[in-house]
């Protein structure tokens, strides 16, 4: 079969169409490599970042007392214990407040909500809240928790601010998990004469747990790594005691920020060592969640 044809357009008639498959295919190959390189750039930067931070921070990270002592004015002394405890407390509070509320909201929207205008408003609203910058949540926390409720710049203010920040992501992912529970499961349960809440609590929720946990990991990791909102709420960068719920507090990202902004040489290494700690904390959180997810997943 011939791959030539004569165009009808008189202007084009002089030129014969050739398919040129080879050159088009090799252009295709070239672009395949470009696309792959584009994808790899990000991973390359990630590798560089990990390498650079390990190079700068590992020595300091393993220096005695770094994880167990309170901060010092000198870059190569003291440790980051109050920041670690602060971050862990923040994370626990976020899990205790944001997860039940987020899953509750997701259950309402998926299982109970009638399709009316105001549930649509709630839905649009949640997706918009997911895009509000973290520093704006800081303003909300400052206004509501610091001043209106009178907590002041304490750990609980920071934790509740981070909870509000985490809620939209938890709700969105929990909804997806609940939506993916097959209806046959619900119908079978109803068929036995069980009420709606009993169906949800004993069938829908256990089935949705792995998916819900994914959202919880993502959002709590983000909350633990967030500094912008905590700066506005009033986290401090120097404490000589372990923070409690109603005390002034430190957190790892704030500690990193304060180390980076100090001009003396050794603080960069201390910042890198603190970054290693923060990333290990996030990885540990992910590890726990993945373990729980595998235990609970129903195949």
């Amino acid at each position: 079969m011939s791959t030539t044809y004569r165009p009808n357009n008189p202007l084009d008639r002089e030129r014969e169409f050739t398919d040129n498959v080879e050159s088009r295919e090799s252009l295709g190959k070239a672009f395949e490599i470009i696309f792959l390189l584009g994808l790899l750039v990000g991973l390359f930067v990630l590798a560089l970042l990990i390498f650079d931070i390990s190079k700068d921070g590992l020595v300091r990270f393993f220096s005695p007392g770094f994880l167990t002592e309170t901060p010092s004015r000198f870059p190569d002394q003291g440790g980051i214990r109050p920041a670690i405890i602060g971050s862990i407390l923040l994370g626990i509070t976020v899990i205790l407040t944001a997860v039940p509320i987020g899953v509750g909201a997701a259950l309402y929207l998926e299982e109970y909500a009638p399709k009316t205008w105001w549930t649509t408003i709630i839905e649009i609203n949640i997706s918009n809240l997911a895009g509000v910058p973290s520093i704006v949540y800081g303003l909300l926390g400052l206004g509501v928790f610091n001043y209106l409720l009178g907590f002041g710049p304490t750990l609980i203010s920071g934790a509740l601010t981070l909870s509000l920040l985490s809620l939209p992501v938890i709700i969105v992912t929990a909804r997806e998990a609940i939506r993916s529970v097959p209806d046959s499961l619900r119908n079978a349960s109803y068929g036995l004469g069980v009420t709606k809440w009993q169906t949800i609590s004993s069938h829908v929720l256990p089935y949705a747990v792995p998916g819900i946990l994914t959202g919880v990991i993502i959002s709590v990791s983000r909350a633990i790594g967030d500094a912008a909102s905590l700066i506005v709420v009033g986290a401090v960068s120097f404490l000589t005691f372990n923070p409690g719920l109603f005390q002034r507090f430190m957190a790892l990202p704030i500690q990193i920020f304060s180390y980076i902004t100090r001009p003396e040489p050794g603080f960069a290494n201390a910042a890198a060592a603190t970054i290693i700690t923060l990333i290990l904390l996030i990885l540990a959180l992910n590890g726990i969640a993945i373990y729980v997810r595998q235990r609970f997943s129903i195949d």
Partner: protein, 311 residues
């Protein structure tokens, strides 16, 4: 009708009575879950109310014209100016740099993962790329200031704090946002469209540029707008690496200050509540909120408007 209802009632009286308590329990549960959902609305009202209340107070002391037209932002100096334009300029500059990184890298990742990568490879590479979004942003700030800037200073006359390094790192950070939403959009393009194109003797690359990408355009533009919104709202990278020099410039090698960087700066200091400095925090926050909210709404609207095209 009336009679049968009556009958049923007598037959199953016991079970009905049991139901009554369950009914109350059910209603309580439904009410609690409804309250959980309501918290999102309360949060939104909280943000809007708190930000705009203080912003309103701010505008009783500084005129709207000064705020939006003055070209100097010096609220902490003896001679005070409250022109927000330099901060907006800084924000747009870093955002533009970030997007010139995130759009090509994000689209390349999305195209490679959906069109070229074997499923097993894609299953590894996609989460690997998305790790970039999970790294705390303060870490990108560290990397921009202490690795990227010194590296670039070998070739370019950069200031220590500069828009370029911060923008580049922000771009890497936002790549997964652009990439994964674009990827979903590209995957939603039906196979039949690609097959139709192949049947016309088109190559794979041509099918990508002439069929798949145009068909996924709405999802891709939504991802880009969402990426812009992320860049506008990003704080830690710019406050660490871009500096605190509010000025109107397009020179990427200079230090600039963004809306978010100013907010972080003023929060770190000791501005007493109710002072004019304190109120600038909210006025700038209001600009940031309106800017990102509009971008989010546009992105949401685009992706919803064209979603059901192929269903």
């Amino acid at each position: 009708m009336q009679a049968t209802n009556q009958d049923n009632f007598h037959h199953s009286r016991e079970s009905l009575e049991k139901k009554a308590s369950e009914d109350i329990q059910e209603k309580i549960v439904a009410a609690i879950l409804f309250c959980c959902a309501l918290i999102s609305i309360v949060t939104t009202f909280g943000i809007v109310f708190i930000i705009f209340q203080v912003t309103f107070e701010f505008f009783q002391e500084v005129s709207l014209a000064d705020f939006f037209l003055d070209t100097k932002w010096t609220p902490l100096f003896a001679e005070r100016h409250f022109g927000v334009l330099p901060l907006i300029n800084g924000t747009l500059l870093t955002t533009a740099i970030a997007m010139s990184v995130a759009i090509p890298l994000g689209l390349c990742s999305a195209i490679y993962l959906s069109e070229y990568a074997p499923p097993k490879v894609a299953a590894i590479l996609r989460p690997a790329v998305e790790l970039l979004a999970g790294i705390p942003t303060v870490v990108y700030g560290y990397f921009a200031l202490l690795f990227v800037t010194p590296l670039l200073r070998n070739f370019l006359p950069l200031e220590i704090f500069n828009a370029l390094s911060a923008g580049l790192m922000m771009g890497v950070m936002i790549t997964p946002t652009v990439g994964s939403i674009s990827l979903d959009a590209i995957k939603a393009v039906p196979r039949s469209l690609r097959e139709g194109a192949y049947a016309l003797g088109i190559t794979k690359l041509e099918s990508i540029f002439k069929v798949v990408l145009p068909a996924a355009l709405s999802g891709i533009s939504a991802s880009i707008i969402l990426g812009i919104s992320r860049a506008v709202g990003e704080t830690m990278t710019v406050v660490i690496a871009a500096g605190q020099q509010p000025k109107i410039t397009v020179n990427l090698m200079e230090s600039v200050e963004t809306l978010t960087a100013y907010m972080a700066q003023i929060s770190g200091g000791d501005s007493p509540r109710g002072s004019l400095n304190f109120k600038t925090l909210y006025a700038v926050g209001a600009v940031l909120f309106v800017l990102t909210l509009s971008l989010n709404i546009i992105s949401y609207w685009i992706s919803n408007r064209f979603k059901e095209k192929y269903d």
